[in-house]
């Protein structure tokens, strides 16, 4: 494979194309931050407006599973970062392995989430009108669980999306499409995946840990 990378005709160089792609992803992440923002605002309103709401409700969330998921995602961020590093260095096999590990961590996250969700369904800790738990009597508990499910659910959808694009770059890495001159998709998927981790870094203490 030649060392000179081809690039799209409207860019002056492959480097320019790479920088543009990266910036495009960062602008996309801005949009993602604002997408979650409304939910954080709703969370803040219900939390500040009902001081004992979080205190009562968080007992019904499993902080151990939440903490495990945090560790899983942080680990997946490590494997993702290593996947990018190896791609940049041209070590395609190691890169592919790291990306695969990231995918497995993502699945692990979803499995733990599934376990959590099924407990909630079983205990009637559901959003809004579907709420029917008798132990938890705070009047705003249904709202808490609405926010819990929408926040973690939307995050979960982003994890699923992440698995799709991770799988895509895993296949391309196996096909040896990335070189030290061209690894843009790996870097961009990496940025997205770290963002998914970022959201969870805030979700975990906000939902699972309370004073």
């Amino acid at each position: 494979m030649s060392n000179v990378r081809h690039h799209a005709h409207h860019f002056d160089s492959a480097q320019a194309e790479f920088e543009a792609s990266k910036q495009g992803l960062w602008v996309f992440l801005v949009n993602e931050v604002l997408f979650f923002s409304g939910l954080f605002v709703a969370y803040a309103i219900y939390r500040v407006g009902n001081p004992d709401l979080l205190k009562e409700c968080h007992h019904f969330l499993n902080w151990k599973l939440g903490a495990t998921n945090t560790a899983v995602l942080i680990g997946s961020s490590l494997t993702m970062a290593l996947g990018v590093t190896y791609a940049q260095k041209g070590e395609q096999k190691k890169s592919a392995n790291m990306i695969l590990l990231t995918i497995l961590c993502a699945f692990g996250f979803l499995v733990i989430k599934y376990i959590e969700y099924s407990h909630k369904f079983h205990d009637g800790l559901l959003p809004g009108a579907l709420f029917h738990n008798h132990e938890l009597t705070h009047p705003k508990a249904p709202q808490f669980f609405s926010i819990y499910f929408v926040l973690t659910g939307l995050h979960g959808i982003h994890v699923v999306g992440g698995i799709v694009v991770l799988f895509w770059i895993w296949i391309r890495t196996l096909k040896k499409e990335f070189t030290p001159e061209y690894f843009t998709p790996v870097e961009c998927v990496g940025l997205y995946w770290h963002f998914v981790d970022l959201v969870w870094i805030y979700l975990f203490p906000l939902l699972y840990l309370a004073s």
Partner: protein, 531 residues
């Protein structure tokens, strides 16, 4: 230096043939045109809805439709016009076409994302518009809760359509921001950037920051309708005013997505047709961003009577007043640019004059609405309706028409019939004022909006308004006809019929597939006119 070339050879229109070469194109100019035709089709549908609404209101009592049907008619008019016409109109059609050209670039940063944004747009639009054949939706385009939770109509589909269309807006925004950052021609520094590009830049930033919030809002509303999650529903312990906060956090900046590109077009037209450089170029660029910034912190002025706290009312009212400052800077600069210039009354300039007159009225009437004491009486009346039509139709649409007439010869290498264009501009201008000025009076006399009936004392003005709607309807039809005629039979235009100095005029009309045979090098500002 402007070079005029008369080129009948290869250009982006004949570069490749066949429907697939259009549907799968990565050329920003073709994508711009596809957006243009699609948006104009929606404009037609939304316009028919408007004519029906106005016809119902030609006399008190039921004229042609029941109250339920009327609710659906104005909801579709609003939803289609906001989401499918006026938000994408200038950025996705003219912006897509001309941003790379004005930057001296060969394309936008992400051509495939550009094409994707088009298909996302029509998918979302299709989702929303097919409900016309189902139950319809009757909530008003603002979807206020709790009614929007309870209504049995096909609101969910429209909400999902809006969700999908939002991504088209976001993709366009991402594309433009990166294009402007990374694809400017050599020598095209920030202070030589055409003001239309500055306008698109600010618009794109708003699109990226604000659109995701409406996406989340309609998503939550859909969940509310489907599962009763209780965030906005008072029956389940939620807060319906919270919905309004979420909704307007996007929808107020959205109106600036609508007007800022229009202002950008006016900024292109006035220097060219006054043969004079822009008065206060830096102030104009800063003003665009001033407007965009203020846009984000004033949304509560749509909620003065929603039982918002006095503190919020006070803050939002005060900050809203500030938007008049950068807006005033722009209006004064436009006038100052013309002062001692050599005015050419070609059609684009006529539309610019119309814009100045109409937009200023629209903007000033906003002040009455920003003032809480008067807003309490004017809100939800026709005064509000008149205000936003003055700025959206009188503002954005007139600017769009000006831009179309300015750039048509570049896009198609043909000129339209100038005499017909001038008379039609007059027809549209008069028709517009006949339609909407009476509505200020109706509103201040107490006629509520979104009502299909009214007190007999309002009949005369309503009739006048309906007659005006026929005038603008006719005007738009005439424009469509002579513009389409011009594409095929118009007089051939050279590459720079207006002797403008921005980069898009330094390449043949219509432009070649790759925009520029040789990447231009910029050595001067965009509006250096000395004749």
């Amino acid at each position: 230096m402007s070079t005029t070339t008369h080129d009948s050879g290869s250009n982006y229109l004949n570069h490749s043939k066949g429907i697939m070469s259009w549907l799968g194109t990565l050329d920003h100019k073709r994508i711009g045109l596809m957006y243009l035709w699609t948006v104009l089709v929606f404009f037609f549908i939304g316009g028919v809805a408007a004519l029906l609404v106005r016809y119902e209101l030609i006399a008190p009592g039921q004229t042609i439709m029941s109250a339920d049907a009327y609710n659906k008619a104005f909801t579709y008019h609003g939803t289609i016009m906001v989401f499918m016409v006026i938000i994408p109109l200038i950025p996705a059609a003219l912006g897509n076409f001309f941003l790379p050209l004005q930057l001296g670039a060969k394309d936008v940063a992400f051509p495939r994302l550009n094409l994707a944004s088009y298909y996302v747009f029509i998918s979302g639009a299709a989702l929303a518009v097919t409900t016309l054949f189902l139950n319809g939706v009757d909530t008003g385009w603002t979807f206020y809760t709790p009614y929007s939770i309870r209504t049995g109509t096909s609101a969910t589909w429209v909400l999902m359509g809006a969700f999908v269309m939002g991504f088209s807006s976001i993709f366009t925004g991402i594309n433009f921001i990166v294009t402007i950052h990374k694809l400017r021609a050599p020598g095209l520094t920030w202070n030589r950037l055409p003001l239309f590009c500055w306008a698109l830049y600010a618009t794109s930033i708003i699109q990226v920051l604000a659109t995701p919030v409406i996406a989340l809002t309609v998503f939550l509303l859909t969940l509310e309708r489907a599962f009763g999650i209780g965030i906005f529903d008072p029956k389940l312990g939620g807060d319906p005013v919270l919905f309004q906060h979420f909704f307007w956090f996007y929808s107020h900046p959205a109106v600036y997505i609508m007007i800022i590109p229009g202002m950008g077009i006016i900024n292109e037209i006035i220097p060219v047709f006054s043969r004079k450089t822009v008065f206060g170029y830096t102030a104009m660029a800063v003003a665009i961003f001033g407007i965009a910034l203020v846009a984000f912190v004033v949304w509560g002025h749509h909620m003065f009577v929603s039982n918002q706290s006095d503190l919020a009312n006070f803050l939002f009212s005060l900050i809203t007043m500030f938007v008049a400052v950068p807006t005033g800077v722009k209006v004064f600069s436009w006038v100052a640019t013309m002062y001692k210039g050599s005015i050419h009354f070609d059609t684009p300039m006529l539309y610019a004059f119309a814009f100045l007159f109409v937009f200023t009225i629209g903007g000033l009437t906003g002040v009455f609405l920003a003032t809480i004491a008067s807003d309490v009486h004017l809100t939800h009346t026709y005064f509000v309706v008149a205000h936003f039509h003055y700025v959206m139709v009188g503002g954005t649409l007139m600017a769009f028409l000006g831009g179309m007439h300015y750039w048509w010869p570049k896009m198609f290498g043909r000129m339209y019939n100038e005499t017909l264009a001038k008379w039609t501009c007059l027809l549209i201008f008069l028709g517009f004022n006949v339609t909407f000025f009476p509505q200020f009076i109706l509103g201040s006399r107490g006629m509520p909006r979104r009502y299909y009936d009214y007190l007999p004392e309002f009949t005369e003005l309503n009739r006048m308004s309906t007659h005006g709607s026929w005038m603008i309807g006719a005007g738009f039809m005439i424009v469509a006809i002579y513009m389409i005629y011009a594409i095929y039979k118009g007089k051939v235009a050279n590459s720079n019929p207006w002797r403008a100095s921005t980069l898009e005029w330094q390449t043949p009309s219509p432009p070649p597939h790759d925009n520029f045979a040789v990447t231009p090098v910029v050595t001067s500002g965009p509006y250096e006119y000395h004749d």
